[in-house]
Structure formats: structure tokens, C-alpha cells
Assembly symmetry: C2
Homo-oligomer: 244 residues x 2
């Protein structure tokens, strides 16, 4: 089962922000309790859960979401390989939202008891894990800005730009060309629009020559133009390697 499984993307994500020593890598690997698989469209964790472990996404796509009163869904984050999907449940204890597998997912489980040992013995590594949750927070703020002040078209464009950069940073595809096997409905729920309108937004971007999307393969033919339309600046992703 563990044959193919690697922490490559996770280490890349960390290394993109600061050096991680061999001892720290070993400590991280030793903190893993087990590996797991989730089928597409199943929940990895549910709102109200009190997980005793945190889940690192090794392979696949997942989304944090909440359901509102009328049954509509809002996605607050899309996670890719190398992302911890619920590291925050370690200090927070109770989940205030659910996480759904958008595709089949491979994961690694880190028991909170092991994470607690890390916080006692590896201060720098603790700050790096803290940092990982702060990156989620930075992305949340960017989404809030988009939802409040940008058009649906700009928001869609922005999400494509963001995913391109994040995927490239963990070695999956390029900024302007990557695999994104999710539905228009999923994207609509992330962007806060109806699936009908999301479809029209995509058509509009296609017509402008800013987006191609076939069989889950996204291409952004004119990066400069789509960055401008989306008002995208990747600084909020903090892809700067420095002592932390």
C-alpha cells in the first residue's frame, strides 16, 4: 500500500518557504500513523467531527465546504497534493466545516498526539506547520476579496491563476497548463454563483481566448491577460524561501 506513496508534494510545499532539515523530515515521516484512500465524492471529515488525527492530502483534489439553510453549498477552499486538509483541527479540536473528496484521494494520517510531540521538540517545524495553516488563511482572504468585489468572470479567472501557481509549486503541471478534474458545479460552489452562470462565465473566457478546458485539462493561453483580468498577484501565496 505504501509503495507509491510519497510526501514529495508536501516537502516541496514546505521547501518553497524555508529549508527543512533531515531531522525535521524524519520527524514528520515518523509522525505518520497510517495511510488511507477516499473515493471521489465522499467526506474526508465532517462538520462537528473531533478528529484525533490530521489528514495530509497526497494525491487528488479536495474541498472544504459548508451547506447553508436552503441546501446550497459554499466551498471555502480547494486542496491539492501536499496540502493538509485539517491541520487546524489539531489546536481547534472540532471541525466547523466538512471536507469532500472532489476526486479519488490518497492521504496520510498524523495523530494529534504525534503533532503534540512535534510542537514540544521541533519549534521551527512547528512554525512551519503553523505557516501551512496561515497560507490557507491568506487564500481565504483573497477569496473574500474576490467574492465581495470582483465579478464572477474575474473570480473564475483568479481561481484558475491561483491553482496554476499552486500546482506548479508542488510539481503538478505548469502555471498555464494543469489538470483539474472537477465539475463546473464544483467551481460554481467555490465562486459563489449558480452553475448556469458559471457555465456562461466559462464560455465568455473561452470566447476571449483566455481559457481552454477539455477533459479536465486547463490551459491559459494568455497568462498576462488573464492575470490582468483576474487582478492576480501571487504574493499572497508567500512562495518565498526565507528563514521562518
Amino acid at each position: 500500500m505504501t509503495g507509491d506513496i510519497s510526501l514529495d508534494e508536501f516537502f516541496k510545499r514546505l521547501e518553497a518557504r524555508d529549508d527543512i532539515g533531515a531531522a525535521e523530515r524524519d520527524a514528520l515521516r515518523a509522525s505518520i500513523d497510517s495511510f488511507g484512500h477516499f473515493d471521489s465524492q465522499t467526506d474526508l471529515v465532517k462538520e462537528g467531527d473531533r478528529p484525533k488525527r490530521s489528514t495530509l492530502l497526497l494525491k487528488g483534489f479536495a474541498a472544504r465546504y459548508k451547506i447553508v439553510g436552503n441546501g446550497e453549498r459554499q466551498i471555502s477552499a480547494i486542496h491539492i497534493s501536499g496540502d493538509f486538509i485539517d491541520l487546524h483541527s489539531f489546536p481547534l479540536k472540532e471541525m466547523d466545516h466538512s471536507v469532500l473528496a472532489l476526486t479519488d484521494c490518497e492521504v496520510a494520517f498524523f495523530p494529534h498526539s504525534e503533532l503534540e510531540k512535534l510542537t514540544a521538540n521541533y519549534p521551527h517545524l512547528t512554525r512551519m506547520l503553523w505557516l501551512m495553516t496561515l497560507l490557507d488563511s491568506a487564500i481565504h482572504r483573497e477569496w473574500i476579496t474576490g467574492l465581495g468585489r470582483l465579478s464572477a468572470e474575474a473570480r473564475h479567472a483568479h481561481l484558475m491563476c491561483e491553482l496554476g501557481v499552486r500546482l506548479e509549486a508542488v510539481g503538478h503541471g505548469k502555471k498555464d497548463n494543469f489538470y483539474l478534474p472537477v465539475t463546473q458545479s464544483d467551481l460554481a460552489d467555490a465562486l459563489g454563483v449558480s452553475s448556469v452562470h458559471e457555465n456562461r462565465v466559462i464560455q465568455s473566457l473561452r470566447a476571449k481566448g483566455l481559457l481552454a478546458w477539455h477533459n479536465g485539462q486547463v490551459t491559459l493561453p494568455d497568462l498576462k491577460a488573464i492575470y490582468a483580468l483576474a487582478e492576480f498577484d501571487d504574493r499572497y501565496l508567500h512562495l518565498v524561501k526565507e528563514p521562518r
Copy 2:
């Protein structure tokens, strides 16, 4: 200058989630470098800054915000007494947004070098500081859900409910009655609407008997009804005292 200044609200905010020992309190107090004041409408930190210290808000209201291309502003968080406004700049290093004083503000500064010592010597306290940033994150997610899937009226109601609970938790007013000296424009920028529409939303809530607001004093005459309209459930604020 330090005469009136106390960390009461901050300790209340922490104690609402877990016990903080005397040694931990002392360590926190000892980590303070200096105190400061900011006039209303001035920036406490600016996007792009690389602060060498983190700022704890002791008194007043502040807002994190970004400006978009057409000059519009989106507020992504409203902070009250006892909130760290840029604790995330400790691991993140660079600010990806600015923070504005909505009123006159009193603050305490924690140099990052001191925070680093805390992470080396006080693992539990470190997790509590981490927790403080994760609460911001939880609020961000709730705002995303509102911006994406609730009406402007429900969002306004939700924000009032949230601020009531948060203010009561640090000893400022009651859930249904508190002081909020900000403008309708500020709220509009937090809720992602125009100030004209925000004014109409407020009038509608007043007409329904769900909101009174004079001279900055907010009253929610029918908590149950406004919670229902806002779909407000305070679990995302994690006001549960337990070992962390």
C-alpha cells in the same frame, strides 16, 4: 502610559478556550516590547510590510482590508479588543493585506524575536497562539460562506450576531447589545455591498424589528429571530474551554 493598559481582553479570549497558567501569562507579558496608539483611520500595518513585531489590539476596532483595481475596498476581518491583528506576520513574514484603525486604537507590540523564544520554550502557549490565528481563519470561512451564498441582509445580520458574541466573550457588552462605532460604509466594505445598498439593508432590518442602532450602540431586540435570519450558529467561534 501603561497605567490603564491591560491584557484583560486577550487573556479572556485565551481563557475562553483553555486554561493559561501563571507562568504562561508572565511569559506573554514579558514578551511585550512596547505599547502604542493609532489614530482612527490610520493604517496599523500595510500590505507589503515585513513587520518585526506583532500587534495585539488592546482597545478599539480595526479592520483588515485589500484594495482592488477599481479602487474599491474589501474588508476581510473586523478586530476587537484582545485580537492579534497580525500575529500571522510572525511565520508569514510579509503582510498580504493592510490593517486599518476603524477607531482610535491602543495596542501592545510583541517582537517576533520574543515570539520565537515562546515557541521554543512554551509549546502549549505556542499552540494557543496558533489557535488564535486559526480562529481568524474560521471566521474567514464563515464570511466566505455568507458572501457566496447568503443575501446582503442575512450577511449584515450575521455580522451583528458574530460581533455580539465576540464582544461579550471579552467582556464588552452583551450578545444583543454592544458598542460598534463604525460607519455604514465600513460595514458595506465588509459585507461586499455598496454603501447605498447597505443603508437599505439596515433600514429593512430596523423595519423588521431585528436591529436598533443609534450613536454606535447596536441592539438586537429579538436574538432568536435574527439568529434564524442570519443562519447564525456560534460553533465556528470555538468558545469551548478544553485542553489544547
